[in-house]
């Protein structure tokens, strides 16, 4: 018995070595693990938790630089017949305290929850959370059912209603899938800040790693009082607001 086991192991090892020489590893007949690029690049790490702190005191109600920067970076430039179907990865909202009339302005987008309801309800596994806390939609397996849009308490997700030809190469978008703020994952993976944060000239947005004691956002959320929107839902959002 042990003989046959050894033979089988030996065979697998030998075939793996042979295949590796050709640039891929056979893990089963017809299934190959292509090693070409596996060693390259940094992978999203679970030690990191990306977050965003928004200071609504600094955010000006007549400014929408963040929204424009998001549209440019992510190619959200299509003309839509029905304005209600326009994709909104980020939007500016004004809050009014009814008793005092005090207004706040702030950008609202995907809150990148640690326990995202959109991921809970997704029937295909298309809605997922990356190891570093960024919540994304895998368009390859999204069937466009829009359960996640209903589940999201922040109305953060949009649906692609029309065929597009104006996508940016690094931000694939299309008809029939749900989409939302990605924290500009294509920039974050290269060590850049999201487009909205870079565009904010009022210094109202701080992006960084909530787990890294040396990061600005880590220090800041320990200095000032910040809130999670709908903290009662205990979703542990990655986007925090100061001054609301």
């Amino acid at each position: 018995m042990s003989d046959s086991k050894n033979t089988r192991r030996g065979f697998l090892a030998a075939s793996a070595t042979m295949a590796a020489g050709l640039g891929f590893v056979a893990i089963a007949p017809g299934i190959r693990l292509i090693e070409a690029a596996s060693a390259q690049g940094k992978l999203a790490s679970s030690k990191v938790r990306y977050g965003l702190l928004i200071d609504s005191n600094k955010c000006k109600s007549d400014c929408d630089a963040c929204v424009g920067a998001c549209a440019t970076e992510n190619g959200i430039v299509e003309k839509v017949a029905n304005p209600r179907q326009r994709a909104q990865w980020i939007r500016k909202i004004n809050l009014v305290e009814t008793s005092t009339g005090k207004t706040h302005s702030l950008p609202m987008m995907c809150q990148h929850c640690a326990k995202p309801p959109c991921v809970d309800v997704c029937p295909t596994g298309a809605s997922f959370k990356r190891a570093d806390g960024i919540v994304l939609v895998d368009r390859h397996i999204c069937i466009g059912c829009r359960y996640c849009m209903m589940a999201c308490p922040y109305k953060a997700r949009s649906f692609g209603h029309q065929a597009l030809t104006t996508q940016n190469p690094e931000v694939p978008r299309g008809q029939g899938c749900v989409e939302a703020c990605t924290f500009c994952v294509q920039r974050v993976d290269r060590g850049l800040k999201p487009a909205c944060v870079e565009a904010c000239t009022n210094g109202a947005m701080i992006f960084g790693d909530l787990n890294d004691p040396n990061s600005d956002i880590y220090k800041r959320i320990r200095e000032v009082s910040s809130r999670q929107v709908r903290a009662d839902l205990k979703l542990d959002t990655g986007v925090r607001y100061q001054g609301i």
Binding site: T72, P169, D189
Partner: protein, 134 residues
């Protein structure tokens, strides 16, 4: 007798001519324009047979794990193989992706979401951006 021989001869000629007629009616083999030949990430034979597996494997790693700037990448294909005429891998039977996929009748879903043009940058004016009415 002569008539019968003639009939057989005619029949055989018709039968011999059949494949030639069928060949002439066949769809011509694809002739994609290769803009940068000889520099691909793997040998031509392997690319022809396995490019879809390579792309599918890498797309999941990039999407789910954030692996960027890899050897295999769809944008890499486009950078090299986009036509110098219309800047795209699509458009006609000469364009790199469309040539073979049209011949093999394999539908390309990639371009429903991905940008088929090299160095494309969305520039149209951004839509009105202020928020929804409360």
């Amino acid at each position: 007798m002569f008539k019968r021989v003639l009939a057989v001869m005619l029949f055989s000629i018709a039968a011999l001519a059949q494949p030639a007629v069928a060949d002439a009616g066949r769809v011509p083999k694809p002739t994609p324009t290769i803009e940068t030949p000889g520099q691909c990430v793997a040998p031509v034979e392997e690319m022809r047979r396995n490019h879809m597996e390579m792309l599918k494997h890498q797309r999941n790693r990039t999407m789910r794990m954030g692996e960027r700037d890899t050897k295999v990448s769809l944008n890499g294909c486009i950078q090299c193989h986009a036509s110098k005429i219309n800047g795209s891998v699509l458009g006609s039977r000469d364009n790199f992706c469309e040539a073979c996929h049209a011949y093999a009748a394999v539908k390309l879903d990639c371009w429903d979401c991905h940008q088929p043009k090299a160095n494309y940058k969305a520039t149209a004016s951004a839509p009105p951006t202020m928020g929804l009415k409360p």
